[in-house]
């Protein structure tokens, strides 16, 4: 692969804190290597800003290997940028060429208030999990792991749903800022497994209820969430959640 360097213009959302009004600011970044990751390009820019005595751009990031779900940039109108099934930290600069302008914004959703610049508060997701995204088993209660064989296909489907990293790209991509893909991934993961069966009805109802309380929008089957999900979580999960939810309502499990 041919390596090259490039100069870029960045337009980045700057917002002092939750209360301040934000705006875009332009930055020139020089000599960016095509081998850098997108966040390493931000490191270079921030080092440059520190050297100039300016304040660096705040952004969330941690593992930088696409699994922790912390990074969260909305790049040129797309959650996590242009690469399919890729988090911001795994996007690499060989996607861009000399002279490009890149616009970077935070996740935008009422339920994800901005903390500073590109950093948003996603604790709503934790509260949704707390509302029912678990199996109620205390430490020490478990039986032998192989006493409960699970159909490989079911196990694989459950695993696929469980690979959600909770980054919030689905919400950012959705015009309604709906969290249905996130919620449905957890409901599916647990509903597909026999261990999750006893609580499946109440789980679906409680998690959806919490999602509504947090102020996420409704799902209108647009599919942008699936298209932008860095882990390829399927829309089938939303269909499954709808079935679970409807089934629960019909059977009268209205609350937890």
């Amino acid at each position: 692969m041919q390596h090259y360097n490039m100069n870029l213009t960045l337009k980045v959302w700057k917002q002092k804190n939750n209360k301040a009004k934000g705006s875009f600011e332009s930055y020139q970044v020089k000599n960016v290597s095509s081998e850098m990751s997108f966040l390493e390009m931000f490191d270079v820019l921030n080092e440059q800003l520190v050297a100039e005595g300016k304040e660096p751009i705040a952004f969330d990031h941690d593992c930088r290997e696409g699994i922790c779900g912390m990074c969260s940039m909305y790049i040129n109108g797309r959650a996590h940028g242009p690469w399919h099934e890729t988090t911001t930290c795994q996007l690499h600069m060989r996607e861009y060429k000399d002279g490009d302008t890149i616009v970077v914004e935070p996740w935008r959703a009422n339920a994800f208030p901005v903390i500073k610049d590109l950093v948003v508060d996603r604790t709503a997701f934790d509260r949704i999990i707390g509302a029912g995204g678990y199996i109620s088993v205390n430490t020490g209660n478990a039986v032998d792991a192989n006493s409960l064989p699970i159909d490989k296909q079911k196990a694989d489907e459950a695993f696929a749903a469980a690979t959600c990293i909770g980054c919030g790209a689905c919400v950012a991509a959705c015009p309604n800022a709906s969290a249905m893909l996130f919620v449905s991934a957890k409901v599916s993961h647990l509903a597909l497994l026999p261990q999750g069966d006893p609580e499946r009805k109440i789980r679906a109802v409680n998690m959806v209820q919490q999602m509504d309380t947090e102020g996420f929008g409704s799902c209108t089957n647009i599919g942008a969430c699936e298209a932008e999900c860095p882990k390829g979580i399927s829309l089938e999960n939303i269909a499954r959640l709808n079935r679970e939810y409807l089934g629960s309502m019909l059977s009268g499990s209205k609350q937890g």
């Binding site: 593992c63 930088r64 290997e65 922790c68 707390g130 199996i135 205390n138 192989n146 196990a155 695993f159």
Partner: protein
Amino acid sequence: MALNSKIPAGSIETKWEKYKSTCKLVNPANKRQLEIIVVGTGLAGASAAASLGEMGYKVKAFCFQDSPRRAHSIAAQGGINAAKNYQNDGDSTYRLFYDTIKGGDYRAREGNVHRLAEVSANIIDQCVAQGVPFAREYGGLLSNRSFGGTQVQRTFYAAGQTGQQLLIGAYQGLERQISLGNVEMHSRHEMLEVVKIDGKARGIIARDLVTGELERHFGHAVLLCTGGYGNVFYLSTNAMGSNVTAAWKAHKQGAFFGNPCFTQIHPTCIPVSGDHQSKLTLMSESLRNDGRIWVPKAKGDSRKPTDIPEEERDYYLERRYPAFGNLVPRDVASRAAKERCDAGFGVGSSKMAVYLDFASAIERYGKVEAHKQGKGGADKATIIALGRDVVKEKYGNLFDMYAKITGEDPYEVPMRIYPAVHYTMGGLWVDYELMTTVPNLYALGEANFSDHGANRLGASALMQGLADGYFVIPYTMGNNLADDIRTKAIPTDHPAFVAAEKEVNDRINRLMNIKGKESVESFHKRLGKIMWDKCGMGRNAKGLTEAIEEIRALRKEFWSNVRIPGDIKEYNPELDKAGRVADFIELGELMCIDALNRNESCGGHFREESQTEDGEALRDDEKYMYVAAWEYKGESNFEMHKEDLIYDVVHPSARSYK
């Protein structure tokens, strides 16, 4: 101060059972009066916080990330060991115990390691009950694979995302306890001091990373589950935020630091591509089940790997270690890669890489698959296509990650890999009950030093984190807190809290007022370079002596010339990082002091002065069969205490994988 490891008496198989049935208990009504602080929410922290919450303790948990689910345990790829013997291949609790002791090059405690092996099977049961979707066979039962340093298949896994699935399991349990009100969660908070009252840990000072405000939190006990310190090397497979700060503050408050120089360099990571590199990415050890490691037989051979014929390749691990081949332990594989590259056989543009090749695995799996589908006489292209699908199912996410980072397709060309800092076996010294030398202060998971000796085996970190959190601390902490039930919650206006907060505040002000010229990042890189060059894969007395001087000079420079933009009372990641780098600098010095003291090679610690004729690590059991536990005595002043290691069961021998 004499170190007491508190290993229970009795034969190795009975120690833990006996401990559990005789330790003191806290009744439910008293548990409700006892407050516990858990710092860090990785596998150890989340499992401890959730379990203690279930038991009825009042728990407060802290993490610096935006959610407990982000802790770096999430990035563990390959798997978790457990002595289930589901494969009927001769595994047992004893064998897991033995492999771990031997893998750690006879520098771990027998009692702790045996307990780890005993509870390993419970962990798998617990995780499956929580809904962790481990890989399964067609019959519906759990699947296993092999990891380095073992000859059985005891590793449970969920594709290349085992850590993620285990952590999400623990996190869900934790969120359940949070919603029940048993655990109070403080995310985006960093612990900056341990508060001691009458010699016991009774709380912490934490900083709210969003507002910059300092907070005081009381606890009858404090659990540090804050992971390892690999980021002292700047480049490592750790997350960007992984740090030693909580452990280091504890150290300065009297907790001894055990074997700080014991660092694990992981053999299979994506090589450095340039100065911009911010972190290194691991390619799971599980890949060595199927990948073969090689370099060209000719020096400086710059042909494409696929153009180099079989007979001109040197599969150096298979050549040097026929019994274990590509599955030798990490320290051995790393040194062998370095040896080949240093000798001029490295590949890629930097020549600091070796190949990890899947071509033969793809073909082997393809043939099996073709037979299964009744296509016995299939052509090579069909076999390769079928084989790729199998490899994709096993390691797909790792291959994708490799392709995104390097721009190369590992299904077509072999991966280029090189060793990188991954894990730290050293950590806060703890006794059998996981208590540090500060009463009521505990360390769990990677943050403690106890179970892996001088080298950790693959898939054992997840095991230890969850063992400590789910199955050990609930007993051992109760045993001590049973004596504390009359201690009422101490109000946080107690002078000890006031003084600790002032200390933290003064330190932050000192940092902000330096107003120098050089960025925090730049200091961190410089520290990392010293550490990697002189306290990395190969260490010697001259280099370590120089490194100590260089680090001392770097510390002075840092405290007079670092530039931190922004303000204290706001979201300021540069300030957070400055505090962490300041602690890394001090730790780096101690690591070099420890490495200089230990004039033997063992596990990941390779002193060039101490090797066999064919370049293998040479232990010196006579002089160094002890844990070096360092006490902080003031700036650049550390006193070593020895805990002699006693092997009642396993007889230390030269560790051979040949």
